[in-house]
Symmetry: D2
Subunit: 360 residues, 4 copies
């Protein structure tokens, strides 16, 4: 990696003024492999400095000085000419065309938007879960005639679920998943949820979220087969999504049916604790020391106390116990705007560098 | 009921200074059948006026003037001599012996404590769910030699669940229930949950709660058989209980398996909306106009917006949809300190009056 | 009032879909003197039923059935032809012209908007504070040639302050007021404050609010002099406004300098508790039993516990003690969307009926 | 400092299991000058490991591994024999005697308790405010015959106030301060404030807090005069203290009267921004890069966004504007459990090391 450290890959953030865009900027600060050289957002900003057009919303940091003076340009390849990689935090309404334009212009797009997630030639990638899905990129580029490509990351609530399930799928098989989420307000973006709607309240509905959890899980835990495409995992998922008054991280309660009846709790915990996928072994810059942490306390993970584990990149598990209906139940927690959004996309790009896919 | 209105039954509240005790006092104010004549709490209060020894915690009301001047006495039959009924808001550590002493002294005890809930001769009663379980009282009195008796109400999280399930059990059968709760802080009593533990947090654990949900549901939806006792309903329940930062009411997400495969959503909603059990028809003073309300909006019930339905005595349902794993999933909400505690106990006592069990 | 009860005055709400508009509709339900016959909002709604175009935000109630079916029309006198009174919950950007159009069309406008509050011929009215300011209406109509008129109510944070100060001004004189507010999120309307901005946060700034507190107080505690107009009270006000994570009601901490040095705390409390202005004696339908309540507990008023005093129309006071810098300090609390907005406007209209100003 | 780094001073924390005790342990981890070798708490723990007897409450970190295995012993000099410095997080009820015992045993006590704060020979110390007050230690030791000594830190709400005032006092004089606080729940310790008391609420009272703010400010901004003792600063302080639903940091709104009438806002901001007291220049390990930061945004400082400035050791200022009653008003924010408690005490000890007072 020596050379990469010396000459970093020029990258840009699309949708730079929003909350996920801000997370990208925060996490790309001093990145050893990527150099933030461009910021794309609404055309109306017209080249004005980022600090002038953006109210910084993140609470753990101030706006990075480097980004503050950077001009905010339109989200077009022409306006961001020297960029090899873009991280897209664009809203779904406009992400589709813009991301395609960049891929056509030879740029590698790492997207947080939902538009291409379920496309049959686009990886929905978490390196620790389905690293080999990047094989789809070759077909994507060939079929679509794109010199660049698009790789997406999963919905913020799907992310901790598939990360928790993957080691169990490998070790025991997983056939059914019944999941109920308690999701943070930051999942709705900014301005997102009005405070009058959520203070002293819980809302048992998030538009489109349950469907995403159900189908993204099947794709991500499925296989990429050359010549055949993505084959869904034979896992039935039933989701119930709730919004609660927490700032960051989604807490999720799952009951699962395993492929075998004779699995002990100790084996499950061992499967989680010993999970070291190839991407983890590669020690990517944004990867946490532990992909998964199992907490043995009775009342963990908790949204507030565990969300920053591994700088927001670790998924924390706990409360494993038998389920009288399916096989086991447990709780998991993942940071929605780091692991489930910006951090996840950056890790995807790092995996592509590590695998020689980048720079193109 | 004319005569009862003219001469009300003298009642007392045990554990009068705590949060559920306060709810009892609030709800008994101006009750048409019951007259609050006594307040029991720790002996140390030694007859001092209620207003002197109690900080009123309820937010919708001030301390009722009548109760304010009442002396707070020990929780013994001797200290509360003319009382025919006691409502017990005692903590489990001391409820057992005290409630027994009152039953032995010929008093009817309506208890919110957990001690006798699972006893084989004590009804765990919600009039709209298992009204005929009061038949157990005859055996209880005979077996134990008590001139009085004890009737308990369910855990605050079990209450909305069994109320939602009962009409479905009657109409279609229910075989499995997977339930995840989002419970309010008032469920932990006062002082209960430290604010530092719950502000900006969700906690996936409440001690003993999941077990209560699982076994109380089976008892309440089961039958009382003369000569045989309580027979559990053959329903498997799996619960996951969470605490969230809401003040009142528990929101609960359920997936259920019905006894028949061919039930349509319309039939389920009709079963809920048309549910008029005998106790409902009796128009008891504390009974709400509607036992169950089904909200057709996509995002209801919500903790804040639906908790006061039917003055806190109605359970609100919503979001019925098919579950890919079990038959259906839906959401329910019940007020934990009214329907799930003090209001439920008072309704139980009213049902006993209506059924001629009171006054003894 | 017999006749008025038989034939109620037809009224409409302008800005009916917003949060204050909803409060107007809630409070006008079953009003003895006013009959809600019209709902005005954006033209785009084009006559569709209120229930179709409005998400009901208030949490203590469902949308009134009567309003639900009412067509939502444009905010023009032509679209609301038979209306004698309009209650305006319009935003400041459009309130000015629309309210004027209604006044020109002979309608009495009771406005919650800021536009005319400081106009030299428009009363900024709270009946218990400056009831005789309605004398300005005659000059307003004459000068402007309006067959109707406009009366405004004060900013939601100014309202409890002037209500607390008025009896002291009458009894002792008031010369200086240093006030710091802790204001609820509903003061920002809906959607208002994003939850991500206020959960676990306090914000020491509300745009324009401090200026309003400072100048409205002087106008309201000042006099209307025939031929001379409004004369500000010689009171210096210094305000600091904060937003905190509470749903309803503004808590305000004041230090004041009185006109006399020899006033005892008992005299101040007596001035508050004995305050019975003419409007109070008139027993208007929306007037609370007590305009002001003084709580003697050390830690009252509290936002949550005291906001519903007098159905949200009472201002609650407490913690009176000497100030080492000015004369005294104390705390007050008022419900911002009831007394400080919709309820205040309706009370203003009732006062005009009582004074013979309505119907025109 | 070379030698000190090689051989660190052995220190202990008293009251190690509570919230401030935990902060001490967190902040002493890897401290360059101090080595945590002892943990004192209730005798009942009887030498059991810290991890066994303590539930870790801090949310930004897990319990430090070193402390976890340390035995928890009684708070006596005998039980902590080799310790040169103790940091006391003891509650006021027991702090007095215990701290005295340590001072008598030759230990330097840095206390967060209120007991000795106002004693005439005990410094109430913030190095950036009144560094030379440590001169009182000599007299304290002589008068009391203590081989050790006691130095206290200020109340958590007083701390940011005096830090903001000191540069103004030096430059212009300060004569009056009217201050209203919005204080976080962690200020009440653990379990502290019940969640049912503060969720959706603001409470205008904190027992004893206003008095502390008023008298501690006078002592800290006053002088230590050899032979005469502490002489209060001639500043009149009037405080109003509120509790709000935030986790950490106190937001405070002040109006102040300066000693001169001709001070411009620019001069005040310059006084803050250029403030570099001796202790700051000494670059103590726990000192922040900036003692004071002035934010120019209209709506800063905010509790959530500014509390971690300088790792919780910086006080953030903002919103300076003229006050119509006194000279100026502004807002300040300080982290209550870091700068206002554990971090402040550690900085005090570092200052004593730097000044040659430690080791004794």
């Amino acid at each position: 990696m020596e050379t990469q450290e010396r000459k970093r890959i020029p990258v840009a953030v699309l949708g730079a003024t929003g909350m996920v865009g801000q997370r990208f900027i925060e996490l790309l600060q001093d990145h050893p492999w990527f150099e933030l050289v461009g910021l794309g957002a609404s055309e109306k900003h017209n080249g004005r400095p980022y600090a002038e057009v953006t109210a910084w919303r993140l609470t753990g940091s101030d706006m990075p000085v480097g980004a503050a003076q950077m001009p905010v340009v339109a989200c077009t390849p022409e306006a961001l000419p020297d960029v090899k990689v873009v991280f897209s935090a664009l809203p779904g309404e406009i992400a589709g065309e813009i991301e395609q334009a960049f891929a056509q212009a030879g740029v590698a797009v790492f997207s947080n938007a939902k538009n291409y997630r379920m496309a049959p030639d686009v990886p929905l990638l978490i390196p620790e879960v389905n690293a080999n899905h990047i094989a789809a990129v070759a077909q994507q580029r060939k079929q679509r005639g794109w010199p660049g490509f698009i790789i997406t990351n999963a919905n913020c609530a799907t992310t901790p679920l598939v990360m928790a399930l993957k080691p169990l799928q490998l070790a025991f098989g997983v056939t059914k998943v019944l999941i109920t989420t308690l999701q943070s307000i930051s999942g709705a973006g900014y301005p997102g949820l009005p405070s009058y709607d959520i203070l002293d309240n819980a809302i048992p509905y998030i538009s489109g979220e349950e469907e995403k959890l159900e189908c993204e899980t099947q794709k991500m835990l499925g296989e990429w087969r050359e010549g055949q495409g993505f084959v869904d995992a034979p896992i039935v998922v039933s989701a119930h999504c709730n919004r609660v008054a927490t700032r960051e991280a989604h807490l999720e309660c799952a009951s699962i049916e395993l492929g075998r009846n004779d699995v002990s709790p100790e084996e499950i915990i061992a499967a989680w604790e010993n999970y070291r996928p190839a991407s983890q072994q590669a020690q990517l810059p944004t990867a946490p020391e532990h992909t998964l942490i199992y907490r043995h306390e009775l009342d963990r993970p908790q949204t507030l106390r565990d969300r920053d584990a591994g700088h927001g990149m670790t998924v924390t598990l706990g409360r494993l116990r038998r389920c009288p209906i399916l096989s086991y139940k447990f709780v998991m927690l993942g940071h929605n705007t780091i692991r489930g959004a910006a951090g996840g996309s950056i890790l995807n790009a790092e995996w592509c560098v590590q695998q020689g896919l980048l720079p193109l």
